[in-house]
């Protein structure tokens, strides 16, 4: 196996007490297929578990998923926890981020204010997030593709 460069490892999980697993199962598969090394923490992952895994795997990105409508509460102070642990990874959040039929722009602003680099709604196709992450990490398609081929 090719040694991981930090930038290609992605830590993925569902935050809080949320148990919606199907989305991250699909994301795991899509990011792996795109050549990223994915550490899938599964559902009901705490802020601390995200931080620990990011440190342990020297992650380039932390991908947080939340479907059940408590994302805002669950993410309070999350970026402080990451910072304390010394995590400098890109942070993305996606899924169904508010309770009820809310206004998306407001939701996005809320999560950006909480410190997330990018906020995705639940219509997001995994490919979009992959493209964005390649951009943010300065990777070309071939970087990650090469990883796939050689891994």
């Amino acid at each position: 196996m090719v040694p991981n460069t930090m930038s290609q490892t992605v830590v993925l999980g569902v935050i809080g007490s949320d148990a919606h697993v199907v989305g991250i199962t699909i994301l795991e598969q899509a990011f792996s297929a795109a050549g990223f090394d994915v550490v899938n923490l599964g559902v009901q992952t705490s802020q601390e578990e995200f931080a620990e895994a990011a440190v342990a795997h020297d992650a380039g990105a932390v991908l947080v998923s939340s479907l059940y409508g408590h994302a805002e509460q669950d993410c309070q102070g999350f970026h402080e926890v990451l910072e304390e642990a010394g995590v400098e990874a890109e942070t993305y959040i996606g899924g169904n981020l508010a309770v009820g039929q809310d206004d998306w722009e407001e939701t996005r602003a809320t999560f950006e204010a909480l410190g997330f680099d990018r906020v995705f709604d639940s219509e997001t196709d995994p490919e979009e997030a992959i493209a964005a992450l390649r951009d943010d990490l300065g990777l070309t398609t071939t970087d990650t593709e090469r990883a796939t081929i050689s891994s």
Partner: protein, 473 residues
Amino acid sequence: MIRDERIPSDELRRIDEEIRADWPTGADVDFEEAIAYHESLPDNKRFADVLESADKPLLQPRAGVPRLDDQIELLEYLHGEGNADLLPTTIDSYTRDNEYGKAQQGLEKARETGDDTLNGFPAVNHGVEGCRTLIDAIDAPIEVRHGTPDARLLAAITFAGGFQSFEGGPISYNIPYTKRHGLEETIERWQFVDRLAGAYTERGVRINREPFGPLTGTLVPPSIAIAIGIVEGQLAATQGVRSVTLGYGQVGNVVQDVAALNALKDLANEYLPDEVVVTTVFHEWMGGFPPDEARANGVISLGGMTAAIAQPDKVITKSPQEFQGVPTMQANAAGLRTTRQVIDMAIEQDIDIDGIAEEQDLIERETRCLMDTIFTHGDGDVVQGTIKAFDSGALDVPFAPSDSAKGAILPARDDDGRVRIFEWADLEMDDEIKEIHKARLSQRANTEGREQSFRMVADDVDAISDGKLIGRP
């Protein structure tokens, strides 16, 4: 070692006292007084009786908001404008985690700001009084719906609060809903819930219990859902429950869905003791919905059509806003009315579809394999059997987030859109049956000119939200 045995009365009392100490509102529960309260309720609020005596499918939505007055308004609306026959009270996620303190914070914030800062009704925090205000206000039976691994305090308070139906079970509210709770632990806790329901039942207050049939809601093969439902029904019966509603979530293939509901009813009646009255509930599509209300209405209607043909005792409806988030009460009522219109237009028709008996037969054979393996794993004890079968992977649920299940099997649709098993992992099943699935799936792979792979599973997961049943490339 925990077994499928009735909790003795003194033990029941002991646990009851213990769990009621978990939160201040627990102190207000008084069993005798609660029995008297239930006896004072009019016939049309007696959940089991209303459900069991209905002559066509009753409709029930999902709904829960944090504040009591809002919850009353919501349920009145769904009853009045949505014409719901049975009503729900969906509990918030903090309560499900037994985080009553966080739920209290959310409730108080909701009261201050008017925002719905919780995704459901924190019944423990509202206490016995709060629950009764709700029961008194609404002119229909109401069920508690949640997803709580340890629902003991919730049960104690809501039963005393006048609710006569309680969703969930040790497997169905564990495997799909939580990662770390062991099965042994949840079984023990739900034995208490069932035993408490049984205590009310003994006194003439039949609390209806409803295992959560759809499990992960995502391409669950019917036999797995049915086997788990039956096990939970057996566990409840042992503790004295006498009204059990077994559930099943629509997979979207009409023949398979009708066959599954028939099989569910037949097998439940066969496996459960005679003194238990079994009813069935059909959940409209529980997987990912289309991000478009118009298309969502089509999904809902296909559910209504299926219900009209299979005629379960109850239908849990979805709203056209399912994709987006918790629906407005208008959208929730709309889902009810769309379903009602389809059912009422189709139910008097003579719609007999070919192949239902064969599919039912297959589902029953599969279910028996699973029941047998549970029996064998437990040496005749269903509790031990369930724990060990999940442990060995002989029993499994697709997309299970729980550490208690392997979550290793993978479902995929066949060429006709029926859910089959593509990756069996360690699931116990007759080879002959496995061959049938294999043949059906390779027929599909042929049609599509591609190999069976996780890609196919992922395409099937997205298919309905993308507007089709089968995730063709």
